[in-house]
Symmetry: C2
Subunit: 238 residues, 2 copies
DNA sequence: CCTATATTTTGACGCAGCGTCAACTTTTGT
DNA sequence: ACAAAAGTTGACGCTGCGTCAAAATATAGG
């Protein structure tokens, strides 16, 4: 009984070992560089053993992506609790996005890979459901902030638009900018010198467009976001 | 001399043949499905001959992406000329984006592939420059509209922000939304039912945030954009 | 402790796809 | 007509994925 559980612990540990080993390869050398043979060699296990844990290479990437999505969701939740003022809470979430893509660039990179068809298609139903749930929970955190703002009278969501659709605008803005920053060959060549600051400004302007109260000047926004940012990685950086 | 040019025509025709054959495979069956062996077989040429035209598979994708970027740039240019009113011109460009991703979904899909590291890295310097130029020209069309708006007194670009950085906001918003629509597993599951309309609304709100004159109601915006859309594919749908 | 059964590990193997290159064919120039 | 240049070919080497029968190890009963 004891030996069984020891063996089983050994096996489940190995799953985390595989992921821990795979992540840096994936992040620093790209999807191509991650090969099952190489992974097996570095693990000092045979390739077949890897395939006992993951049915194919894509599942490994998907598993890593889930870890990353979880991290982002946690950051969102933390961020959304940093203030009682709805507009500040939304700003904190924006701040979390910035931090996530900058300080946890590896995680963002892995998340991006998941969006590239092949991996998504080949990953198991089970994991696809997990991923969707993760996205839904992140969305509901932000939509919750919007609903609270409406309830508090800070914001009016246009009729025929759901809270989620309002969130979708901010999501597109921040996601789009970070995706472009990561993938557009030399943004500065086309005249965009400080894309992150620009997007904070656009986000601020969009909030103003929706007349999200209380109004704050952009300078105040900047310093407030800086403060909020410091509090997002609180006790546990994980 | 005549035979030479016949031969040379034959060769340069083949390049277009390759691309024409590759595109549907790439679009409908994905990057994985596009193999050099298969392409050679369908071309009824030996694989080596393909490699006389393109040094590797990635270059073929890059070449296709350039065609797509060119199409988008042309649509932008057309769109930007449809009205004398700066705000309408910007709306027309937004409309061009929507049309591009919807009616020319294959092109958008190929463009997306280029953003996924591997292809970009392995494509030749020459093509990388071409791609950058294409992006720059598209950007300068839109930035031109912004500058005209400023000159006409319709718009004030915030100090410390360039026209390009202002464009970057709209670019992020539309690019982000289309990327999410294409890649996010079931947006409607998370509560976003009409993402395209939502983004048009967000774009409209962002313009209002920048007080881009003349103000138009959203309903007017919708019908105007519909009209503009019909005029973007004018004489030559290419 | 031994043996039978279940579980886990292994790595050689089949297969597919990329890119190469020496041999072969066609075109060009004289 | 012939030699040199240009173009074409497909077999080959290599890498990487995923499989599976055989070997190793663990579990359980006597």
């Amino acid at each position: 009984m004891e030996t069984l559980s020891r063996k089983q612990r050994e096996i489940s540990d190995r799953e985390r070992q595989i992921l821990a080993l795979a992540r840096p390869i994936l992040v620093h050398e790209g999807y191509q560089a991650l090969s099952m043979d190489r992974l097996a060699a570095q693990m000092e296990y045979a390739k077949g053993t890897l395939y006992n844990h993951f049915p194919n290479k894509e599942e490994i990437v998907a598993a890593l992506a889930i870890e990353s999505l979880e991290l982002r969701r946690k950051m969102f939740e933390r961020a959304s609790l940093l203030s009682p003022i709805s507009r500040h809470r939304m700003m904190a979430i924006g701040c979390a996005c910035d931090l996530y893509t900058q300080e946890c660039a590896e995680h963002f990179a892995v998340e991006q890979m998941l969006r590239n068809s092949v991996i998504w298609q080949k990953s198991s139903e089970k994991r696809q459901v997990l991923i969707q749930q993760c996205e839904m929970r992140a969305m509901s955190v932000v939509a919750g902030v919007v609903r609270d703002a409406v309830a508090a009278g800070d914001l009016t969501v246009p009729e025929h638009m759901s809270a989620e659709e309002l969130v979708f605008g901010f999501w597109s803005l921040t996601y789009g900018s970070h995706a472009l920053i990561a993938s557009s060959p030399s943004l500065s060549e086309v005249g965009v010198n400080d894309p992150v600051r620009s997007i904070r400004y656009h986000g601020w302007t969009l909030m103003n467009g929706y007349q999200w109260k209380p109004f704050i000047s952009f300078d105040e926004t900047e310093s407030l976001m800086h403060q909020l940012g410091e509090r997002i990685f609180g006790d546990e950086p994980n």
